[in-house]
């Protein structure tokens, strides 16, 4: 008769970048149930709409999370612009797309490093963070800051990039692409990594759809869900293709993220070749009155920003629904039936971003 134990996982754990807690109910090394528990970094950011007006709130929206910082600002600005029927100039849309794709690249490279560190492959962690420095240098030269960019505003963007800077970005990314290919080859073809990741943490396509999986986790199970195909910002002029794998296990999720890196570099090259001249912002008059759901593809999945205004300069409601929040029930389904030793790998292939989850 097997004996049930409860093993706590987190909130402090060497592989977790942010605190989340799972109570794992185990029976002799096999997990039979997992109960998640959050609210270690709840800051109540959604109530700050009562204190800062809708133009100043972009600074708070930027600081919801460090890795996905630009995308939150972009979603908020898009929702407010849609309510107030503001036409953002084309050049601003292209600039926003370029910064968003750079954000995606640096988040995925960071994820690659942390995932490699989780099974002890520290040298790959160091190499990938060294590659990420070139993206952060691009951010510092074009916006002034490395992580919290502060460059998006209601009505456009705050800074411009001239043609020489854009060509420089494309050249630097092409140099980085060679190094990135080398790193990815090592990660994908390594025998021990394949042994630890292939066949582990399987979720089927129907389960992923019914449990509300979004992002690379859904795309690794065969669902072609990518919000960039809706065509917000400048994606309607670019050639977006969702990267889909069908295996549904941890190895497939790693492959999806690595292939998305190369696709993002290609999208930036396309955007730089098509960017038009013109102004980068538009004057904002009036106050928002109405509501809108803005849907964006963050590095971790689909994020929804809901803004509701009633005519005064303070918004009535701002709600963010983050992809990690939507992936947690699917994560519980994946954890049931796996071994205790595989839990850190599985949780890292989910790529949790807890400070977004509990804004």
């Amino acid at each position: 008769m097997a004996h049930k134990n409860i093993i706590p996982f987190g909130p402090q754990h060497p592989v977790l970048p942010e605190p989340i807690h799972f109570e794992l109910v185990t029976e002799d090394e096999k997990i039979i149930d997992a109960i998640p528990s959050i609210s270690y970094v709840h800051r109540g950011l959604e109530r700050l709409v009562e204190k800062r007006d809708f133009i100043d709130y972009v600074h708070i929206a930027d600081r919801i999370c460090g890795l996905c910082s630009f995308m939150h600002c972009l979603g908020y600005c898009q929702a407010v612009e849609e309510i107030m029927a503001i036409q953002v100039p084309e050049r601003a849309l292209y600039l926003r797309t370029i910064w968003a794709e750079l954000s995606r690249i640096h988040s995925h490279i960071f994820w690659l490093g942390v995932a490699a560190d989780a099974f002890g492959f520290e040298s790959l962690f160091m190499q990938s963070l060294r590659l990420r420095e070139s993206v952060l240098d691009i951010f510092e030269e074009t916006t002034g800051a490395r992580v919290i960019l502060g460059v998006c505003k209601v009505g456009g963007v705050r800074r411009d990039m001239d043609a020489e800077t854009l060509e420089g970005i494309v050249n630097r990314l092409t140099t980085m692409k060679g190094d990135l290919e080398e790193l990815s080859t090592v990660f994908i073809n390594d025998y021990s990594i394949k042994h630890r990741l292939a066949g582990v943490g399987f979720i089927s396509k129907e389960d992923a759809y019914a449990l509300g999986c979004v992002g690379p986790m859904a795309r690794a199970s065969g669902l072609a869900l990518d919000m960039r195909t809706i065509g917000y910002a400048a994606y309607k002029y670019l050639d977006v293709e969702p990267m889909v794998e069908s295996a549904g296990d941890c190895y497939a999720r790693c492959l999806v993220r690595i292939r998305e890196n190369f696709h993002s570099i290609d999208l930036i090259r396309q955007a730089v070749s098509k960017i038009p001249e013109g102004p980068v912002d538009v004057k904002v008059k009036g106050t928002p009155n109405g509501e809108y759901f803005s849907r964006i593809e963050q590095p971790r999945g689909e994020v929804i920003h809901y803004v509701k205004g009633n005519g005064s300069k303070f918004l009535q409601r701002f709600r963010v629904r983050v992809p990690t929040f939507s992936n947690i029930p699917a994560m519980i389904k994946v954890l049931k039936g796996s071994d205790v030793a595989d839990v850190p790998n599985i949780i890292l292939t989910l790529d949790p971003c807890i400070s977004c989850t509990e804004r």
Binding site: I35, S37, I38, S39, H42, G44, E46, R47, E50, Q78, E82, M84, A85, Y209, A210, L211, G212, M227, T229, I230, G231, Y232, A233, K285, G286, T287, N289, G290, E291, Y292, F293, R295, E302, I304, Y306, K308, N310, G311, S312, K313, F314, L315, Q316, R317, R319, R321, F325, S326, I328, P329, A330, E358
Partner: protein, 148 residues
């Protein structure tokens, strides 16, 4: 960018029936959100299929109970526990019920009607030089919406 988004207001008793019908048609649950109005709460249930976005909206007073949809979509338990913890609404029959321990905050229900001060809409001006042309129509709508 401006994709068509439907918002359908329904009654509380029709909720479970319509949600089951959407499940049969192949939609996926996207989010459940709540807004605090001066005397009521407004719940939004969002669904999506092939990038078409559909919303069901119900309006409840603070002492009403809301039926849970975890029987149809088991992953709704996180959203409903969050609504219970932050807004103080009672949701009946959640599949996995945390009984108020999901969000451990210093004050009990930080987003409920007693704690949130809703912004007041500006008073109507006789002539509005810098506002857009459709703003006066929306101005008449919002004070009436606030009253109900």
């Amino acid at each position: 960018m401006s994709e068509p988004q439907e918002i359908i207001p329904i009654g509380k008793n029709d909720l479970v029936g319509m949600v089951a019908q959407l499940f049969a048609e192949g939609y996926r649950l996207v989010q459940i959100g709540c807004t605090t109005l001066p005397s009521t709460y407004e719940l939004n249930y969002s669904f999506d299929k092939d990038y078409r976005f559909k919303n069901l909206r119900i309006t409840v007073t603070p002492d009403e109970e809301v039926p849970s949809i975890t029987a149809i979509w088991p992953n709704a338990f996180l959203y409903e526990n969050e609504i219970h913890d932050l807004f103080g609404l009672t949701v009946k029959n959640i599949a996995i019920d945390y009984h108020g321990t999901l969000y451990r905050t210093a004050i009990k229900t930080p987003f409920s009607i007693e704690n949130v001060k809703a912004p007041e809409p500006p008073k109507q001006k006789a002539e509005a030089p810098e506002q857009k042309t459709e703003a006066p129509d929306q101005q008449t709508d919002s004070p009436e919406q606030q009253k109900e």
